[in-house]
């Protein structure tokens, strides 16, 4: 057996019994140890999230909440949620309330931009979708042993901590073998190994993937809302991209009109001539994709024009 092979539940039990010196099931039953092994797996997986899964669900228009177990039964917690392949921004209820106190009454329409979680086991879409679509989840998986021959889906290098965890639980149990001091030592060993594993994980999965924690460092793609209205100014993620480009047009001290490839979002255009920032109205005007320089500021031959904007 190689070190990269996964252990079965029976192999875990054998190693634990060796440590407990109870190979004959005299003091601890298999059922007990199975419970401890399952709890160990939940604990390590919950803390370090080693195994990722993905699942999709067809969502009807106007759907406001989605029950996670309807999407997949092995979702430990949602991590990345996409609507029609576009990442949704996770927000807290407080953040939604700050944006618009009337957000729950926003009319159905367009693509959802925000995912929020108000109830355990459910996520909400905001605004509710105007048409049918697909919701894709990528998530840390909940792991479980079904039989003695099923293997743990945790990385094999975590397996030795199962011995510490199970012994800690076994010695904590009331009975002839209860030994709180010994349990404390095993618990300390287990937590120290957890710390070691988080270092290993950083080497193993350098990028990791963010937890679905509303209000976390996900890029929140929205503009300041107009308070009190029934519509909210949220820019759907797919409509917000940045572009740096050289506008099209002849630079010859005569031509005053230059064209961009996209229409910039309001107020987002930064236009530079030879590295000097131009001011809208004073130096130029913008109409959809067309930039028109004021007569006194038409770029001379050889000058470099550069535009940076959001669209």
């Amino acid at each position: 057996m190689a070190l990269s092979d996964k252990w079965t539940r029976a192999q875990f039990r054998t190693a634990i019994r060796r440590e407990l010196m109870d190979s004959g099931t005299k003091w601890w039953t298999d059922l007990e140890l199975n419970n401890y092994i399952g709890a160990w797996q939940d604990r390590v997986n919950d803390e370090l999230e080693f195994t990722a899964g993905t699942a999709s669900a067809a969502i009807g228009s106007a759907t406001q909440t989605v029950t996670l177990t309807d999407v997949a039964t092995d979702i430990l917690r949602p991590a990345i949620v996409c609507w029609n392949n576009v990442l949704l921004s996770p927000l807290t209820i407080e953040e939604l309330n700050n944006l618009n106190r009337n957000w729950r009454n926003v009319t159905v329409g367009g693509d959802p931009a925000v995912i929020y979680q108000e109830t355990y086991g459910e996520v909400g879409l905001f605004p509710p979708p105007g048409a049918d679509g697909t919701l894709t989840f990528e998530y840390p998986m909940a792991l479980a042993f079904s039989t003695d021959t099923s293997t743990s889906d945790l990385p094999p290098w975590t397996r030795y901590s199962a011995i510490d965890y199970a012994c800690y639980r076994a010695y904590m149990r009331n009975g002839a073998n209860m030994d709180v001091n010994r349990a404390k030592i095993y618990k300390a060993n287990f937590t120290s190994k957890l710390r070691k594993y988080s270092t290993l994980k950083r080497k193993y999965l350098p990028a990791g993937y963010s937890k679905f924690t509303p209000g976390n460092e996900f890029e929140v793609r929205m503009v300041q809302p107009s308070y009190g209205g029934s519509t909210m100014a949220i820019i759907a993620p797919s409509s917000l991209s940045f572009l740096d480009e050289v506008p099209t047009g002849t630079v010859n001290a005569i031509n005053d009109t230059f064209t961009l490839t996209q229409t910039p979002a309001s107020g987002s255009l930064k236009l530079y001539v030879d590295g000097v920032l131009m001011q809208v109205t004073t130096h130029y005007t913008l109409s959809t994709k067309t930039i028109t320089f004021e007569t006194a500021f038409i770029p001379n031959t050889g000058q470099a024009i550069f535009a940076s904007y959001r669209y």
Binding site: T51, A52, C82, N85, L154, A207, Y209
Partner: protein
């Protein structure tokens, strides 16, 4: 002497398994080996995997414990991340199949490939720290530097006596760290990527020969 007999000697069990069975010692040694490999990453191996047509995911070869980089079609790829792809394009998930441009480790044994391959690529090499060879009844030793082996033995010993002889365990753990530091010093002096630093000429190269820009005469 082997790793197993070294641990037995440390435990004063040269003549047989009185308190610790062979299986106890194998487990402790294997755990110490895994941590030492992962921590020092002193060796790199190659494993081969397959990027299957239209499949978003690829299995990391079972010989590789910590993947470091991928080579496909003679080109190197470094592990990427979801935030990287989001910055590249917010519609990256909607991209059709094509020549893979990015590999993202998502689970301990799975990588996402983006975009999904347009055809099956059989020869995707994953380089990284390998899994150590398991210590068991037939493989009781490791070919390695003396300090590295001593580090493994002390760590395994400390882990075995942590409940019964905590003071010993603490001392051995400290000794084990010292041996690890010694091993890292050996690495620094002998391994290729450290030799670049060791072979630095007394007079540094000019910027034209790839030296530091701080040595450029115009730099002040």
């Amino acid at each position: 002497m082997s790793l197993v007999s070294d641990v037995q000697e440390l435990l004063d069990e040269v003549n047989g398994s009185v308190f610790w069975t062979a299986a106890h010692i194998y487990d402790a040694l294997n755990e110490a080996l895994i941590h030492a490999y992962a921590d020092t990453q002193f060796t790199t191996s190659e494993g081969t995997s397959t990027a299957t047509e239209s499949s978003n995911f690829m299995t990391i070869p079972t010989t590789i414990m910590i993947p470091q980089y991928i080579v496909m079609g003679g080109k190197e790829y470094w592990p990427s991340s979801y935030p990287d792809l989001e910055r590249y394009s917010q519609n990256w998930r909607g991209e059709g199949v094509g020549l893979p441009k990015a590999f993202i480790p998502v689970s301990w044994n799975v990588m996402r490939i983006w975009p999904a391959p347009d055809t099956t690529y059989d020869e995707v090499s994953v380089f990284g720290t390998p899994w150590p060879t398991e210590i068991n009844g037939t493989n009781t030793d490791l070919t390695a530097d003396r300090a590295f082996k001593r580090h493994i033995v002390l760590e395994a010993g400390a882990s075995l006596v942590k409940n019964t002889l905590p003071q010993f365990a603490q001392i051995w753990a400290v000794e084990s760290l010292e041996e690890k530091r010694e091993w890292k010093r050996h690495l620094r002096n002998h391994k290729g990527r450290f030799r670049v630093w060791r072979l630095r000429p007394a007079t540094s190269f000019s910027i034209n020969r790839g030296g530091s820009p701080y040595n450029f005469k115009g730099y002040s």
